[in-house]
């Protein structure tokens, strides 16, 4: 199961992630796939033809993490879960996980899935 989360900052994210388990060498001992997206870009910057910045990109003040859970998502993370129009800036390369996430997203946020018009 694939879910997206938003934390106040990296420190809070680390607390949640480390809570999933680490071995004696500090490596994860849990089976879940964690991807730290960090402060994602909300609005792209603009640049001239030479690549010089015209306007800086706007970054989220939140720290974003995507998780591919081995099984169901852990409920203690639920109040950090967020949804966005598919698929956001990141996804996992799993057909099953993408299909499940999209179905759930459509159920919770139908506004992200506009009905097609009937124009010819």
């Amino acid at each position: 199961m694939f879910r997206k989360y938003e934390f106040k900052n990296e420190t809070e994210a680390n607390t949640f992630i480390d809570g999933l388990g680490v071995d004696e060498e500090g490596n994860p001992s849990h089976p879940h796939s964690i991807v730290r997206l960090g402060n994602i870009v909300l609005t792209e910057g603009t640049y001239d033809s030479e690549g010089e910045v015209i306007t800086e990109p706007v970054l989220s003040s939140k720290y974003h993490v995507d998780v591919l859970w081995q099984g169901d998502a852990i409920s203690s993370w639920d109040n950090k879960m967020v949804w966005c129009p598919p698929m956001g800036v990141h996804t996992f390369g799993s057909s099953r996980a993408i299909a499940e996430w999209t179905e759930k997203c459509k159920e919770l946020h139908p506004e992200y899935f506009p009905e097609p018009s009937e124009e010819i």
């Binding site: 796939s33 033809s49 081995q70 390369g93 799993s94 097609p116």
Partner: protein, 588 residues
């Protein structure tokens, strides 16, 4: 008698299915390994034809059952028609009303770079129209009488003659939509008619820039190629025998790895892009031509990337020479950024300290720039330039005009070496770790290893130049680093073996082999009598203070602190072998 006859387990990667890697011995299934990754769309391999093979999926439901799931609006569908493939599986799509909405539709929410295809043949009408509805998708017309495209409305479309009046009509579109529509049409830009019909068969919606061989679906989508938990038997480098590829988790940070005209790329300078211009390392026509347009003295494709953290980053392109053959792949503007320059005719890089180049056949090379990015500046650009030579840019815009190369498969990943290609179609994508393990942990009762006695032989090669301490194998009591023998690529250039006992290291043999080369490594033990061999040479004979491997009952590769690995062979014996036998079995 061959020494192999004495082995209790022989694993030479060859037979597999989704979730399982079969062992040649034992033959009753006891020695088979379970395999998981949970990634199909992000996993690729080089197959026996030397081509990059992806996980593919037909995202449509009931892909050739047009009276189920599909909706008809002023149309009817009739099965049992003669198809393009000699079957009677085609359908007649007939107009039954005149509202102007005469369509066959499937509701499906999808986004990113994708291709919709249908096999079609003229009936009483000569045209078919596709519409990606519910977003900004295009409408495309195909002429089924002359085999030509009509109005295409954006994206890249193609009509391919497959014989007997049948055509495969396909349209590539990058964006979001919520419904796919098929219209019988009278003429280009004319969907309004009150009667008439066409024939259709085998609809497919898939990620990517081109249609690939049809995958039949029913009540659920269907996959082909690399499946979620399929072991990847890889033939890279022209290998005639496959090896098992085990890689750590990686993410491709490039949002559109094959669609370079996507708005997710910042853009080009002095260049024009032509999608689907030639055959890629995948073996299909989805590589892009990047050509100087004479507007600038340099030819550049670029994207701005804000890295989440400092670390090593690898940025790679597959590239093939056109009428130019020098390219620069670079990470510029970052703390620690820089460039690597490549010669696509001779397959060389200016300095191996800047990255790597790998031959993918048919003139294609994977060119990688590797840089250690510091925390001072995590914002910069990922670039591809066409250059005049390894050291020179073009003198002026006129000189750059018309110079081109072909590109495919961009990948930007955090890590000190490139891993197998991860395709992306609108979002960054993560491939989870490959996980290979014994299931259940029962080697001793199966007789594969003895109680406190046995021999482990690994024929393998670590991938990449990581300077971290990464584990690649653990033979133990269970899937942990608590008890057993741990094989570790150390922070230097060599490989160590650690004997673990009750969560601490009871013995360690360091520098027994060199990373990034093929090694045959053996640990043979009987109680505290432990011999270690590598590549035919004794590295340790009954020395140190090992407590022995008595608890070893199975195997797992590391997935949380893993080194990339290629496995050629695993051999296990239920007894301790002689020095001559160990030397023989570990000689390359």
């Amino acid at each position: 008698m061959s020494l192999l006859n004495k082995a209790s387990l022989i694993q030479i990667p060859s037979g597999y299915k989704d979730g399982t890697l079969y062992s040649a011995k034992p033959t009753n299934g006891d020695g088979d390994f379970t395999f998981s990754r949970g990634s199909n769309l992000a996993a690729t391999r080089v197959n026996s034809d030397g081509l990059i093979e992806k996980g593919r999926e037909n995202l449509l439901l009931q892909s050739n059952q047009f009276d189920t799931t599909w909706g008809t609006y002023d149309t009817s569908v009739t099965s049992g028609q003669s198809g393009y493939d000699g079957s009677s599986d085609a359908w007649l799509l007939d107009i039954t009303g005149a509202t102007g909405f005469q369509t066959l539709r499937q509701t499906i929410s999808n986004s990113g770079a994708q291709t919709f295809s249908v096999y079609a043949k003229a009936g009483t009408l000569n045209w078919i129209r596709f519409t990606f509805a519910g977003g900004t998708g295009p409408t495309i017309y195909f002429d089924l009488q002359n085999g030509t495209l009509g109005s295409v409305g954006g994206g890249v479309s193609k009509i391919e003659d497959v014989g007997n009046g049948w055509y495969r009509c396909s349209s590539f579109f990058s964006g979001s939509f919520t419904e796919l529509r098929i219209y019988p049409a009278t003429a280009n830009n004319n969907p309004v008619q009150s009667s008439g019909n066409i024939y259709i068969q085998h609809a497919q919606l898939e990620a990517g820039l081109v249609s690939t061989p049809y995958i039949e679906t029913g009540a659920t989508t269907a996959q082909a190629g690399i499946l979620e938990d399929m072991p990847r038997l890889d033939y890279s480098g022209g290998a005639t025998c496959p090896s098992l590829l085990l890689e750590p988790q990686r993410s491709n940070l490039i949002l559109d790895s094959e669609y370079f005209s996507s708005s997710t790329w910042q853009g080009t300078t002095g260049a024009v892009l032509t999608e689907n211009d030639t055959t890629s390392p995948e073996g299909v026509q989805n590589a892009t031509k990047i050509e100087g347009d004479g507007a600038a003295s340099f030819i550049r494709l670029y994207d701005f990337q804000n890295f989440a953290s400092a670390g090593d980053y690898s940025f790679s392109f597959f590239a093939k020479a056109g009428n130019a053959n020098f390219i620069e792949v670079s990470l510029l503007g970052y703390d620690g950024g820089g460039a690597a320059n490549f010669d696509l005719l001779n397959g060389t890089i200016d300095d191996v300290a800047n990255g790597s180049i790998e031959d993918y056949g048919n003139g294609w090379y994977r060119c990688t720039c590797i840089k250690s990015i510091g925390a001072t500046d995590l914002n910069g650009s990922a670039n591809l330039y066409i250059r005049k030579s390894l050291t020179e840019n073009w003198d002026n815009a006129a000189e750059a005009n018309g110079k081109y190369v072909y590109i495919y498969g961009a990948m930007l990943e955090e890590g000190s070496y490139p891993t197998s290609y991860i395709p992306t179609y609108g979002s960054s994508v993560t491939r989870s770790s490959d996980a290979l393990e014994t299931s259940p942990y029962d080697y001793q009762s199966q007789g594969v290893l003895g109680a406190n006695v046995g021999t482990i032989i690994l024929d393998c090669e670590t991938i990449g130049t990581s300077t971290g301490s990464n584990d690649f194998h653990m033979f133990g009591e269970a899937k942990s680093i608590a008890d057993g023998y741990l094989f570790r690529a150390n922070t230097g250039t060599t490989i160590d073996i650690l004997e673990r006992d009750s969560n601490s290291t009871s013995a360690q043999w360091t520098g027994i082999a060199v990373k990034q080369t093929r090694n045959k490594i053996a640990v043979s033990y009987s109680g505290s009598d432990v011999d270690v061999y590598a590549n035919g040479v004794a590295k340790s004979l009954s020395s140190g203070t090992p407590v022995g491997g008595g608890n070893i009952n199975g195997f797992a590769n590391s997935t949380s602190n893993s080194a990339g690995l290629i496995i050629h062979q695993i051999l296990l014996f239920p007894n301790k072998l002689t020095n001559d036998e160990l030397a023989d079995l570990t000689t390359l």
